[in-house]
């Protein structure tokens, strides 16, 4: 009796081992929970069906902390989707990530709009000191958007500005007509100040070259550099003028970023324009019809400066944290139009992949945003997310709150630079 049980057990072990030889188990770790989790699972489901692997997704709301612990402890998932490329680059340096290979880099170059920007974004220095492509950017958010109410623009006879010069002229025009052009809110609880970092990053891209931007986020160019000070002051042109901002400059720092777009929809409007990333419609009043009640345009670049059409954004970078064949197969699957189009049909997904069918977007607003992404000549990732946490999620935020409160740009930049140096 005992023998037959043992034999049966051994047979079961053998068959399960044989089964896993062809179909591996693949674990994917990402920052998505709630409805977003079902979206990413839909994509992974399609991959599982195609490849026959057993794919499991785990989400965490403290991804950044958890992944470091997992990697250090040697219990890494196979694939991880990093929302912060800066952290991924740290992990690559410590040898926790597997390079994706030169052909994936070539694929990005050819198939993603502004391809070189994406290759740069995913290229990190490895443990041996050589740089290679480690990250595959997948699921992008666009930040360079200005939201407005078309009806208000029509009533006042304003045109959507095509260049930064026009935008500034429009701002002054609205004031001359007795209105208030902008709603800006930096409040975000413990993270207060981050919306202003986005503004400064946008201004860096519109007043300096992408190379300067890259040097800035790595601190090769100091915060106290005149180029950076100039970008901060460009933001100040909009935010520190009592006539330009709803509630006056004093209200900028204390207004919550979730409340500030509501000024667009009051009657008479508290403001005409609001610059914010693609997620902000979630905080519009209930029943707002996108396209009719609210719309957006690309936050324009200076015509006088030959910097093309830069787009600021964020998103996730997928990396292999525990190498296996299935992990490489998943990265290969992300290079198919299918993987992109499944998530496009759901929500909250943009892609710079040129070959996808735009009709696959469930929502015309997303399609229009994606156009901005596809027409970009340069794409740069949210700089504060690339900086060390102590700066990008610390002194840069508080510095911007101080700046909005009236401190000079030099003083603020000096404080941020000092905090950066103390990290080293």
């Amino acid at each position: 009796m005992k023998k037959t049980v043992m034999a049966g057990f051994a047979a079961a072990l053998l068959t399960s081992a044989a089964g896993s030889a062809s179909a591996e188990q693949l674990t994917v770790f990402g920052p998505w929970l709630g409805p977003d989790q079902s979206y990413v699972e839909a994509v992974l489901e399609a991959f599982a069906e195609k490849s026959g692997h057993d794919v499991r997704y785990v989400g965490s709301d403290s991804f950044e902390q958890q992944i470091v612990v997992d990697l250090e402890a040697g219990s890494a998932p196979n694939v991880a989707a990093f929302p912060q490329p800066g952290l991924a680059s740290d992990m690559a340096k410590r040898g926790f990530l597997a390079p994706l290979g030169e052909d994936v880099a070539d694929w990005l170059r050819e198939n993603y709009a502004a391809g070189e920007s994406w290759v740069n974004l995913g290229t990190y220095v490895g443990p041996d000191g050589d740089s290679a492509l480690y990250g595959f950017p997948f699921k992008i958010d666009v930040k360079s958007l200005v939201w407005f109410v078309p009806e208000n623009f029509e009533d006042a006879g304003y045109e959507v500005p095509e260049t930064m010069e026009e935008l500034k002229a429009l701002t002054e025009q609205i004031v001359a007509d007795g209105g208030t052009p902008w709603c800006i809110g930096l409040g975000s609880g413990a993270a207060t100040g981050w919306p202003a970092t986005d503004w400064v990053e946008e201004m860096m891209l519109r007043t300096a070259s992408p190379e300067d931007y890259d040097r800035w986020v790595t601190n090769e160019m100091k915060f106290t550099d005149p180029v950076v000070i100039n970008a901060i002051e460009e933001f100040g042109w909009f935010a520190r003028n009592d006539d330009f901002v709803a509630g006056g400059a004093g209200a900028v720092a204390s207004t919550d970023f979730r409340d500030s777009p509501k000024g667009l929809f009051t009657s008479p409007p508290q403001c005409y324009m609001h610059r914010q990333a693609s997620f902000i419609p979630a905080f519009f009043p209930e029943g707002t019809m996108m396209g009719d009640d609210a719309d957006f345009f690309y936050f324009p670049a200076y015509e006088g400066k030959d910097l093309g059409k830069p787009v600021l954004g964020a998103g996730t970078t997928w990396v292999i944290t525990n190498e296996s064949d299935a992990a490489h197969e998943l990265i290969a699957f992300l290079q198919t139009t299918e993987a992109h189009e499944i998530w496009m049909g759901l929500k909250g997904f943009l892609t710079p992949y040129k070959a996808v069918n735009p009709e696959a977007f469930s929502d015309p607003t997303l399609r229009k945003m994606n156009d901005i992404l596809l027409q970009a000549t340069t794409f740069r990732f949210d700089g504060s997310d690339l900086m060390p946490g102590g700066v990008g999620a610390g002194s840069f935020w508080t510095g911007m709150v101080d700046y909005a409160g009236g401190k000079s740009a030099e003083e603020v930049a000096d404080a941020i630079q000092k905090s950066w140096e103390s990290l080293k």
Binding site: V68, G185, A190, G247, S260, G389, A393
Partner: protein, 413 residues
């Protein structure tokens, strides 16, 4: 599997495992290792009884070693190494770097503030509540209301208080209670009384309290001067230090009475309470005081009831007024319990993390040590400095812990 089912299974396995361990380990010991029969039964029984305590202690020792001793040693090791250099030994370099950071000193300063204010306020409020609710009919209802915050997690309490401090732009309706009240003060008599006179009186009261503390600390010294007794140098030193600290705090308080009376306050404008440097620390402390007062009240109330009636009756017959009875009869008798409550809350305060993390994340000069450590470990990914700050917290906790255990054992004797 449903999480509830998982939990149930975990409980069954856990409890079953514990019972199974003790049962089977005893069984093995008595039946196979040292059976109480045969030629050497007597010797075997003695040996089994020598092994048995260790068998029962083993799970606890093992778990303590695995979850406490090993992490402490590992933290100490990490704090002396630099991971960027491949884990090389760098001596006290991490500590040097940490001490050079202004954020660290800000965290130290704030922790000291928390240590002074929270245990004192919680114990004082708890004692007050315990004394007052003992005398009234609906005392038990009041007690349960005060105790209830104990059931709320720190993060939950932080979320509640975040709503209290919430700010909306001027012109919109304020949903934060504090701002709604603030906006009601738009100059006039009451805003003078509440916003200037009341804080000034509080500060003056605090200064007087500090004078009393100095008096309490120094009186035994002055008396002892006549009869010199050796061996109390340490207590004398502690008393002088306490007196000096109280003098400094009292000086600070009395110095700021005038500025408080004359300060220009931005009436009628909604305030972002949590971003006002220095004062925002106190807005955060309120949360912990709110939670811990219930704890202090319950323990002190039990202690108050344990006071023998005879001493109080004797005091009443001798003509003592209620204040005398409370401060001279009751409080000295429960001093031991007060100290235990005080130190227990002090330990909680030293580890305070959740409240700061959930409310300000250490921004606007509200950083505390535990949050600083989290920041270093998980945001800056600097395990050296993170571990160093963990060791600092441990060193700060240690003396209080030792003293607490010492006191508790003295009580038991």
């Amino acid at each position: 599997m449903h999480p509830a089912l998982q939990g149930l299974i975990t409980i069954i396995i856990g409890v079953g495992g514990c019972v199974g361990y003790f049962y089977f380990s005893n069984f093995v010991l008595d039946r196979f290792l040292f059976p109480a029969k045969g030629p050497q039964a007597g010797r075997n029984i003695n040996r089994a009884n020598m092994v048995r305590p260790w068998l029962f202690l083993f799970p606890a020792i093992f778990a303590l070693g695995l979850y406490l001793a090993y992490p402490v040693i590992e933290t100490l090791r990490l704090s002396l190494t630099d991971r960027n250099l491949g884990g090389a030994f760098v001596g006290l370099e991490n500590y040097r770097q940490m001490v050079g950071e202004p954020k660290f000193w800000e965290a130290m300063r704030n922790n000291m503030l928390w240590l002074i204010v929270v245990p004192a306020a919680s114990t004082a409020f708890g004692l007050m509540a315990a004394q007052l609710t003992d005398r009234i009919k609906w005392g038990s209802i009041a007690k349960s209301l005060i105790f209830m915050p104990m059931a709320i997690s720190f993060v939950g309490a932080s979320v509640i208080f975040k709503l209290v401090y919430d700010t909306r732009p001027a012109g919109q309706e304020q949903i934060g209670v504090l701002n709604a009240v603030w906006l009601a003060f738009d100059g006039g008599v009451w805003s003078f009384v509440v916003l200037r006179l009341l804080p000034a009186v509080l500060l003056a009261a605090f200064a007087v309290l500090m004078l009393y503390v100095i008096y309490l600390a120094l009186v035994p010294l002055l008396r002892r001067n006549t009869a010199h007794s050796g061996g109390s140098r340490l207590t004398a030193l502690v008393r002088v230090i306490v007196a000096a600290g109280a003098a400094w705090l009292g000086f600070l308080a009395s110095r700021s009475i005038l500025p408080v009376l004359t300060v220009a306050l931005p009436y009628g404008e909604p305030q972002t309470w949590l971003t006002i440097p220095f004062w925002n620390n106190f807005f955060l402390m309120v949360v912990l005081v709110w939670i811990q007062t219930g704890f202090a009240m319950v323990i002190l109330s039990a202690a108050l009831r344990g006071i023998p009636e005879e001493t109080i009756e004797a005091a009443v017959i001798d003509g003592a007024n209620p204040f005398d009875i409370f401060f001279r009869i009751k409080v000295p008798q429960i001093m031991g319990t007060i100290v235990v409550v005080w130190t227990t809350i002090t330990l909680v305060v030293l580890k305070v993390f959740d409240i700061v993390f959930a409310m300000t994340n250490g921004q606007w000069e509200t950083q505390v040590l535990a949050n600083y450590m989290y920041d270093k470990l998980f945001r800056a990914n600097d395990w050296g400095v993170g571990s160093a700050s963990a060791i600092v917290i441990m060193l700060l906790v240690l003396p209080i812990l030792v003293w607490n255990v010492y006191n508790a054992r003295k009580e038991m004797r």
